[in-house]
């Protein structure tokens, strides 16, 4: 190849990359899913499991890359500044997209995104150690009121969902000022402290029940859990809105300004991928609760969550 043809072909490549993507041709090159956490974490594995099915539904290639730091905000901040081509999507969780931008000075906000679809959502629950005499949320409240300052609740870090769940419970019950918060660096050390009895309360999704001996006290959902029908919902025990429902959800986001037809195509492919047999069995294996919303429904849900989580952030003092 001589220099002229090389330059010519580079120029063609350059223009093809810069030209606005047309939906019928999309995708012309591999689509990149950005995971805002390190490789090997729960989110990473979910997205890596999802990528092949999305690729199949799109009829193109999909690859996953990781950019970690700042509880996911580094990746979101980087993607918010990218050209909205639809070739780079982020998988953001509830904390990355709705909580972090309200507690930290990050270069993105509610209007930085074109939500594509939600993939997973699980309600959170409040847990205590099994065998410590506390069996119900009423007993927990009574114990805390009897001995203010004695009990500790843990979290995987300030501002994490594990933190906000417990804040929602005890703020809703009016005893938040009588219990102390002990943050850890990640769930692992917090669970170890739970097993050792250093902390007495921890909030997480249902999956935690399989990781240790815990008693579930309350679920932050609009309905009781199928697997734990005896656990009351937050509303039932008198926790008022907006603290009564908390979901750990995640979905695909594109930078704001992505062409509508590309968003529609991605959203549709995402739906097909979530519904695919392969991904359904993957979700069953990893005990992921799937919850697909298309672009329009997800946009409305995302905005409602963004506003709704403000109250709980204030309660947590963040």
């Amino acid at each position: 190849m001589n220099i002229k043809t090389l330059i010519a072909s580079l120029a063609v490549l350059a223009t093809s990359a810069a030209a606005p993507a047309l939906a019928q041709d999309f995708p012309e090159r591999p689509v990149n899913l950005v995971v805002p956490f390190n490789a090997g974490g729960g989110t990473d594995l979910l997205v890596r499991g999802f990528a092949p099915y999305l690729a199949e539904a799109l009829g193109g290639d999909v690859f996953v890359s990781n950019m970690a730091g700042g509880s996911g905000t580094v990746a979101a901040g980087a993607l918010a500044g990218q050209r909205p081509t639809g070739y780079q999507l982020g998988y953001w969780s509830v904390t990355v997209s709705t909580i972090q931008p309200q507690i930290k000075d990050v270069p993105y906000g509610i209007d930085s995104w074109e939500p594509i679809c939600s993939v997973a959502a699980s309600p959170t629950m409040l847990f205590t150690n099994a065998g410590n005499g506390i069996e119900t949320i009423e007993q927990a409240k009574a114990a805390i009121e009897a001995e203010p300052g004695k009990y500790l609740f843990g979290s995987s870090g300030p501002g994490a969902m594990t933190h906000l769940t417990t804040v929602a419970a005890f703020e809703g019950l009016g005893v938040l000022d009588k219990i102390k918060h002990l943050p850890f660096q990640g769930s692992g050390p917090a669970l170890q402290a739970m097993a050792a009895g250093t902390i007495q309360f921890f909030g997480d999704t249902e999956i935690l029940m399989q990781r240790g001996d815990f008693t579930p006290l309350v679920i932050f959902s609009d309905a009781r859990s199928e697997n734990f029908p005896d656990v009351p919902t937050a509303t039932e025990v008198g926790i008022a809105a907006p603290l009564n429902e908390l979901y750990l959800w995640g979905g695909l986001f594109a930078p704001a300004g992505t062409p509508d037809d590309v968003v529609a195509k991605l959203s549709e492919a995402c739906g097909a991928a979530v519904a695919s047999e392969g991904f359904q069995s993957f979700a069953a294996d990893t005990q992921t609760v799937l919850n697909y919303r298309d672009a329009e429904a997800f946009d409305a849900f995302f905005r409602a969550q963004y506003e709704g989580n403000t109250a709980i952030i204030e309660a947590a003092g963040l």
Binding site: N66, A75, L191, Q192, I207, G212, T286, Q287
Partner: protein, 497 residues
Amino acid sequence: MIELLPQAAGLIFTLEGLLVLVLGTMLGIILGALPGIGSTVAVAMILPFTLGMSQAPAILLLLAVYAGSVYGGSISAILINTPGTPQSAATCLDGYPMAQRGEAGLALGWSTIASTIGGLTSAVVLLLAAPQLAALALNFGPIETFALILLGLTCIVSVSEGSLIKGLVAGSIGLFLGCVGGDPITGEARFTFGQFQLISGFNLLAVVIGVFALSEVLIRAAAKEEGTQSLVSFSGIVLPPLSAWRGRIKGLMKSVAIGNGIGILPGTGAATAAFISYAEAQRSSPNRAKFGKGEPDGLIASESANNAVTGGALVPTMALGIPGDAITAVMLATLTLHGVTPGIRLMTDNPVLIAAIFSGFFVINLMLLPMGMLVAKGAAPLLRLREGYMLVLIVLLCAVGVYFVRGNPFDLLVMGGAGILGFVLRRQGMPMPPLVIGMVLGPTLEISLRQGLIITDGSFAAFFTGHPIALVLAILAVGMLALPLITALRARRSGTA
């Protein structure tokens, strides 16, 4: 656990299983030996390949890469004074001086044998007593962790070759670097000076690679000679003769015990173990006067301890479902993918799988020696490259490695800045291992101290009254600090008398 071994062997000794063990160990050693690519990155790189495998081979592949990379890190530490990972930072202290006097092959021989023994014993401990040890580890709360980290920090004294004061300055710089970013208790930003990127702090690996590898490149560029010679002379691993082990066995055993013990405790890790073990060897070894000048005892101490951690770290991971570090967290996540829920019932629900993992781990450690020799043989021609080529190669690989740690562009700049900082500090004779110790231990020290104070309602005295383990560790720490002073005073007194 023992009685399940025959069944477990059925899972390991299949074509897929053996292939995975051999290739995984080899790949791990290569990745670990490349400057800049540490264990975490190595394991993350392999992860996508495990998705299509069945349960046991998938985990065994990750384990092989993990154990291989921890050992592999010592190769670059010895040959080019560049620890691939923080855990082999202590290996540079004696490994590189040996390489400089032309004993690179022998230094690798010592480190290989020490790594193998460290890994093997930890595999045995794992097989015999994982559940009991895990229960023991639960007694380690924030206050005990604080005392242990305090003990770890006293190692700064023993790794400050040349000047203790300069070592302490480097240590405090490291401690400070660990403070930058979001506060672990309140989440508020500290020392970020309005830079959004700094909210997650300085990445440890980016700083380590910067102050060791990049600054080494700059120091060589600043040296008088033209970079046309090769770095060290090396043609392959030379195993030390059996007689040379005389007088070193006791130190080895002690280091292995330290590595196993610290590995079990969640959140401390291989770097801490290697440094504590090195400090202890420097205190008690019969050859302590030669430490820092290329003494095999120093190599043995750090390499046997950091490989013993690999087994220890699996104890809480497998027995409680609680990951001890980033790498074991990846392993647990992989188990989840294969339909196994990590948790307190992991061992009771999947006894054969766990037995296969543990015994596979034993086999992996047996393979470190032959695979290490093979890789070293293959790497030898590379080291005969002229220095200039080697230096450029190091910069490129470091950039790749740091980029893959978390794909964060800012980390690359941090590495560049740390390289220049390291160059300036090293020019005035400041040792770099204390800086790494400070940065590794600082965040854990801070969070455990503040957690402890929250638990005790702000009383520091209560740290030691109700916590005997913490008290013992704190006394050890004070002893480690006082000892050099006492010996110095005694030496002076007997000198004047």
